[in-house]
Every structure is written in C-alpha cells, then in structure tokens.
C-alpha cells in the first residue's frame, strides 16, 4: 500500500522524468559513443573508451568542410529569412492591401506542404531556369521554407503590440526611424529572435530539400547520411555532442541573464 501511495503522490514527477528521459536518451547515446573506439567502420557497438575523435574532430575527410558549408548556409538563411519575414509580418499586420488575405494564407503553405514535394518542385524550377545547383540554390530554398516560421513568430508579436506605443514615441519627438529603432524593434524583438532561432535550427539540419537541390555541394546532414551507408566516423558524434552542448549553454546563459535582471528589478 505504501508503495502505491508513494507512486500516486509522485506520479507527476515520475511522468515528467520519464518524458525527459525519452527526449534526452538519444543525446546521451550520441555523447557516449563519441568516446568510443570502434573496431570496424561502424560506430554502433561499444568497444572501449577513447578521446581520439575529440582530439581530431576534423580527422575525417570532407566532414568539417561540409559542416562549414552548413553553418554558412544556416547563418545566411537565418539572416535572409528573418529580415524578409519580419518585413512581411509587419506588412500583413499593419497595412491593408489587395490580396492581403491571400498572402496571409499562402505564407503558411510551405509549412503544410510535404517537404519532399517541395524539394522536387524546387528542383524542377531550378533546372528549368538553368540555375547552377549548389550553395546558392540551397540558400534560396532554405530562406523560402524558413520564411513562414519567421512570419508566424513575428506576426503574433506585432499583432499584440499596442499601436499607441508608436504614437507615443512620435509624440515624444522620435522621427520615423527613431520610432522604429527605439520602440517598434525592441518590442518585436522576442518574436524576431524566436523566428531567427527556428530558422537556424531548421536550415542547419535540413536534409530532404537540400539533398534535391544541392548539386555537388555536400552539407553536414548530407555527409552524415552518406557516411551512414559506408561507415560512420566517431567524429560525427563529436560534432553532434558539441552542438548539443552549445545549445544547452546558450539556454543556461539566457536563463541566468533573465534571472539576474529580474532580481535587480525586484
């Protein structure tokens, strides 16, 4: 009976821990296997502890090159999608123009469309245009599908913004540029940041659309997929673990900053 009662009382905590475990277990495996020293070409069975891969993260031919391409594409796609998406979001919320309703729904299509269909049609488009497949076609494709996420995030923020705040700024001697920089942008910033982070994550690990439109360019996800057929170097786990750690550190840092700010205020 005591066990049952204990279980009842802690049910929420147990469920939470189990879910968390379910979410994090793959990351744990990735991390553990980044310290493995596999016998054959595949890193699927634990052999023995080794720091070899961590000492030479770029020891595998072409891997760091593909990583660098992926990072570059992600950065540019994030910038492109965030700038364009923010402008679209403002236009959709602030202005009444013809076809506004149509644009409003069309912007969400890329989110709903199966990625593989979009990938194939993009390839058709690029081939018909005679475009050289590679870095720039990937970038264009990434900006396109990231756009809808940025628009969604920023739009929600702008819609909840009181238009009187900008009027107040204009009333207090801020010209149009000052009003935008000092009031509009800071208030919309959380939405813009959310859109940008989503864009970066989506672009960095996109495989399907990239694979169709990459030509001979190889991004990091494509490299991992390719090597999974021939043999998986431990360095892939090293990169994966490092990315995970960077993300965790960023989240922790932002939490610490917010906490400290709240404490100063209170």
């Amino acid at each position: 009976m005591a066990v049952v009662r204990w279980f009842k009382r802690h049910f929420v905590v147990i469920a939470g821990l189990l879910t968390l475990g379910y979410l994090l277990l793959p990351n744990v495996i990735v991390t553990v296997f980044s310290f493995n020293k596999p016998k054959g070409r595949f890193n699927y069975e634990w052999q023995k502890f080794s720091l070899d891969a961590w000492k030479q993260p770029c020891g595998v031919a072409d891997m760091c090159g593909s990583l660098s391409i992926s990072l570059q594409i992600a950065v540019w796609a994030t910038i492109g999608a965030t700038v364009l998406g923010t402008m679209i979001a403002f236009a959709l919320v602030r202005y009444r123009f013809r076809a506004r309703g149509a644009v409003n729904s069309l912007i969400f299509l890329p989110m709903a469309m199966p990625e593989v269909v979009m990938a194939a049609s993009l390839l058709t488009l690029f081939l018909n245009m005679g475009a050289q497949l590679g870095f720039y076609t990937i970038l264009i494709a990434h900006i396109m599908f990231c756009l809808s996420f940025v628009v969604t995030a920023v739009k929600a923020r702008v819609m909840s913004m009181d238009p009187r705040l900008e009027e107040a700024a204009r009333d207090l001697y801020a010209g149009p540029v000052q009003t935008f920089v000092r009031v509009t942008l800071p208030i919309a910033a959380p939405g813009i940041a959310a859109g940008a982070l989503l864009s970066f994550a989506l672009s960095f690990d996109d495989f399907i659309i990239t694979n169709f439109n990459a030509g001979s360019t190889v991004t990091f996800p494509m490299f991992v997929w390719g090597s999974a057929q021939r043999g998986t170097p431990v360095q892939i786990n090293v990169i994966g673990t490092a990315m995970f750690l960077v993300a965790v550190l960023l989240v922790l840092a932002s939490m610490v900053i917010t906490n400290r700010r709240n404490k100063v205020k209170a």
Partner: protein, 384 residues
C-alpha cells in the same frame, strides 16, 4: 503689443475630419483654447473629441482647416515636430524601458545629453523617485498614470493633451488624480486640453468645457455656465439631469416670458431662453432637480407668490444620504425629478402624496422645442 502670453494658445480654424470610409468624425470646427487654461472636451464616445485631440497632436491629419499653436501654424507638421505632448488613454508606456528611461525618452530624442537631474526632479514631482528602475508593468494603475504625465511634462510642451487619462482608474483614485492633475496644471501653467466622457471630471477640473456631440461643439463655457444655462437639450441632459417641459408662449411681461404648460403658467426670464420666442410658439422649459422645492398639496397656500408651480403626485422616492430623490408624476411631465436636501424631512412626502413643485423663475431656462427632448440622456455615463 499684447501683454498676455499667447504662445500656448491652441487655435483650430474650420478643422474637420472625414475618414476614407466617408464617416465624418469632426464637422468644421472653430475653437480657441487660451494659454494656461485647463480646457475639457466633453462628450460621449464617438462624438469626435478624441479625433479633435489627435489633430492637435498631429496623429491625425485634418481633412480641412488649420491648427495654430500660438503664432505658429502646425497643421502640416508631424507629431515629433510639434511642441505638444500627449498623455494617452491607458498610458502607452514603453514596456521594454524602465520608468527612468520612459520619462527620459523625449529629452533623449531631442539630443539632450544630461537628462539625469531633470528626470529625477520630474519623478520626485510625481512621487515616483523610488520606482525609477522598475518596468511599467510592475507599477499600479495610478503610478503608471503618473509616469505618463511625467513623461509628457518633462518636455515642457506648450500644450499638454490628455486623452481620457483617468479612464482606467477606480473611482477613489480618479478623484485623487483629478485634484493632482489640477494642482500640477496650476503649478506648471501649461495649457491642458483634456478629453473625457465623464461630465463630473470635466466640471471638477476644467476652467472651460466644450461639450461635443456628433462632431460638433454644442456649447462652450465655464462649468457653472454650462450647467445653469444649457443652450441645447443635449447639454441640458448630458451635464447632470434636467426636467424638460414642452410649453407654449403666452405673452411677454418686461424681461420675462409667460408660458402655458398644462393648465398652469410658468415664467421664464427672456435672457435665459436660447430659442426664438413668438407668441403661440413652442419652447422647452427646463429646470434642474435640485432647484425645486416640494410642498404637500395641503400647504399650497404657504408657497410665496411669484414662484413657478406645478402640481403632481409622488411616484417614487429614494433616500441617498445627503439628499432624497423624488420622481413626480405630473400632468406636464410624467417623470419629473426633484432632489431635496435632507434638512427637515416632511413625513408627508411619501409615494402617492399630492404635492406642489415650485421654484424661483430665475432658475428656469428655455430651449428650442424643435430638438429631441431626450438628446444626451442615454449617452450619459454616471461617474458616481
């Protein structure tokens, strides 16, 4: 040279606003607000008072007419180039800036470098020195309201515009802020233009009140003038309560007009009648409920001569402390309202009792009978 400073005058000439959808919010309007006065634009929602205010601020472009501040025409100046600041409805404080930076905003935008002392002084004036580093959402409604006032006043505008500044506060705080704003206005001597739908607020604070209705100024004057001498049924009903009776002009005697209403006669000073009077024509006779005395019908003989009288029956009475409010059913008006001070309460004044209502003819006012007798009744929003 005029000795009076006119740099803070607001002059609106023929100003009007018609929106793209064809709705005319403000009909061509002429208005002068003298330097240093506390001016209220009073009206129900949708009467054009806020639009008028926004045209002075530059947030709304007039469809016609001009706006002058002192000798300067500002009609085509954007809001950030006008020496005018606004306290917005629900304050519009910048949520991402702390109180200090909110108040410093206007100074910084004008490129003033050393803002600290000014901001500290201003926050002290509104008793918020301690809260300087808090964000707006951490303050109470009344505190936010004071920040909004400080943020505008620190710029020493020629005119301060207030758009329903107390609308979001509860009654007690509103009373307190009314006095506070009045004190600040007297202290800084800046022209205040205050928009409100609350007649009591307008009368408490303003030197001059303009009552607006359907995009027009119905009447402009001091609060007591508007209350005692309304020129239209809207003003009579919107500001406080009025008893209006339809009457026929019978004759004139000296400065007075003698009117027939029901079976009796009423006297109205000609100077207090805003309508044309021709013998046999109709006018609306008005009298405020607190000017009327009730006497039981049995004592009718004791009523001094020369007073206007009406007979009726008490339909309802409600005791509200300082006064008792009676509703009288009378042949000339089915719901005549009378407010009596509770000094000597006559126990005979109970529902069902026959009474004589009488008042000094000097408290009677006359209005054009062609108007809607109920204008302004439904739109009135009681403050207390």
């Amino acid at each position: 040279m005029n000795t009076k400073d006119t740099s803070g005058d607001v002059r609106l000439s023929g100003i009007s606003k018609t929106y793209d959808n064809g709705f005319t919010a403000v009909q061509p309007l002429d208005l002068t607000v003298p330097q240093g006065s506390f001016f209220a634009l009073l009206g129900a929602s949708g009467c054009g008072k806020t639009t008028t205010l926004r045209m002075i601020a530059g947030l709304e472009e007039p469809s016609s007419g001009t706006v002058h501040l002192g000798d300067q025409e500002v009609t085509n100046l954007p809001p950030y180039k006008r020496p005018v600041n606004t306290v917005f409805q629900s304050y519009a404080l910048f949520p991402h800036l702390d109180i200090f930076e909110n108040v410093a905003f206007g100074l910084r935008r004008r490129g003033i470098k050393s803002v600290k002392q000014q901001v500290v002084d201003m926050l002290d004036l509104v008793q918020l020195g301690e809260q300087a580093r808090k964000k707006p959402h951490q303050l109470s409604g009344g505190q936010q309201q004071r920040v909004a006032v400080a943020r505008a006043l620190i710029n020493h505008p020629k005119v301060l515009l207030l758009d329903e500044p107390l609308g979001a506060l509860d009654l007690k705080l509103r009373r307190q802020m009314q006095l506070e704003l009045k004190r600040i206005q007297t202290e800084v001597g800046i022209t205040f233009v205050h928009v409100t739908h609350d007649q009591e607020e307008a009368m408490t604070m303003a030197d001059t009140v303009a009552v607006m209705n359907a995009g027009r100024v119905e009447q402009l004057g001091s609060p007591s003038d508007l209350y005692e001498n309304p020129n239209t049924t809207f003003v009579a009903n919107f500001l406080g309560t009025s008893n209006l009776i339809e009457a026929e002009v019978d004759s004139k005697s000296g400065d007075d007009i003698v009117l027939k209403a029901g079976g009796g006669k009423l006297v109205l000073p000609e100077a207090r009648c805003s309508a044309p009077t021709t013998t046999g024509g109709k006018v609306l006779v008005g009298v405020r409920p607190e000017k009327i005395t009730l006497t039981p019908a049995d004592d009718a003989g004791e009523i001094p001569a020369g007073r206007n009288r009406i007979t009726g029956k008490i339909a309802d009475s409600s005791f509200i402390g300082v006064s008792t409010q009676y509703v009288i059913d009378s042949p000339v008006c089915p719901e005549f309202e009378v407010y009596a001070q509770n000094i000597d309460r006559d126990s005979r004044l109970r529902p069902g009792a026959d009474v004589v209502l009488h008042w000094n003819p000097a408290h009677t006012f006359g209005l054009d009978a062609a108007q809607d007798i109920d204008a302004g009744v439904d739109t009135e929003e009681e403050a207390a």
